[in-house]
Symmetry: C2
Subunit: 118 residues, 2 copies
């Protein structure tokens, strides 16, 4: 469903962001549900936020997110509306996602998390 083909909707809905990245942040130390795979992810998201700002990509939303539900997969980012789940591990991975996907619309296949829902 989109704003244009939704049944019974009375208006077309503009998208607030061209792309919107939700980035899994780690649980704080001592969290009752324990740690998860997002440990160590924060430097990656910091780089992402700074790179988006430096490149003036103001049409890309960036949101820190609670658990995205695939805790063993490591640092996770999901990009909507594409629905692409990335598992970056290095600053270079972040730069490649920004350059290829966010700038040129080309998915970075090597960083895609391919999982079926549990």
């Amino acid at each position: 469903m989109t704003g244009t083909d939704a049944p019974h909707s009375e208006f077309e809905l503009p998208q607030l962001y061209r792309l919107h990245a939700a980035c899994h942040t780690e649980r704080p130390p001592g969290h009752p549900r324990g740690s998860c795979g997002a440990v160590g992810a924060q430097p990656l998201w910091d780089r992402l936020a700074k790179t988006l700002e430096a490149k003036g990509l103001t049409d890309i939303g960036f949101t820190a997110s609670g658990c995205l539900g695939f805790c063993n997969a490591g640092p996770l980012m999901v990009v909507y509306p594409d629905g692409v789940w990335y598992r970056p591990t290095t600053p270079d991975d972040i730069d490649e996602i920004v350059e290829s996907h966010f700038t040129h619309g080309q998915r970075v296949d090597r960083l895609v998390m391919v999982l079926t829902r549990r």
Copy 2:
């Protein structure tokens, strides 16, 4: 771009969730960036999580989110891949979104936040 029409992508990407809701959670008391419009939202998200579970809507992702960027708009939820931003204020609003949008694919126009990006 989607998994099927993305240039230079080598495989089709299955979607992990039919719909994925990111819900703005409030900043804790004393947060250096101050409070924001999400104050009081938590009971709404609790109801959403419980309703999704009770109805067995396991194909709907639910993620607590950091600031979504429209702090004056009140409790916010964005639903992807549709890109629909909702501003629910009561438990009945949550129930209507679950019944209409999440179950029958019909956007709840009266609860949609229509804003242009600042």
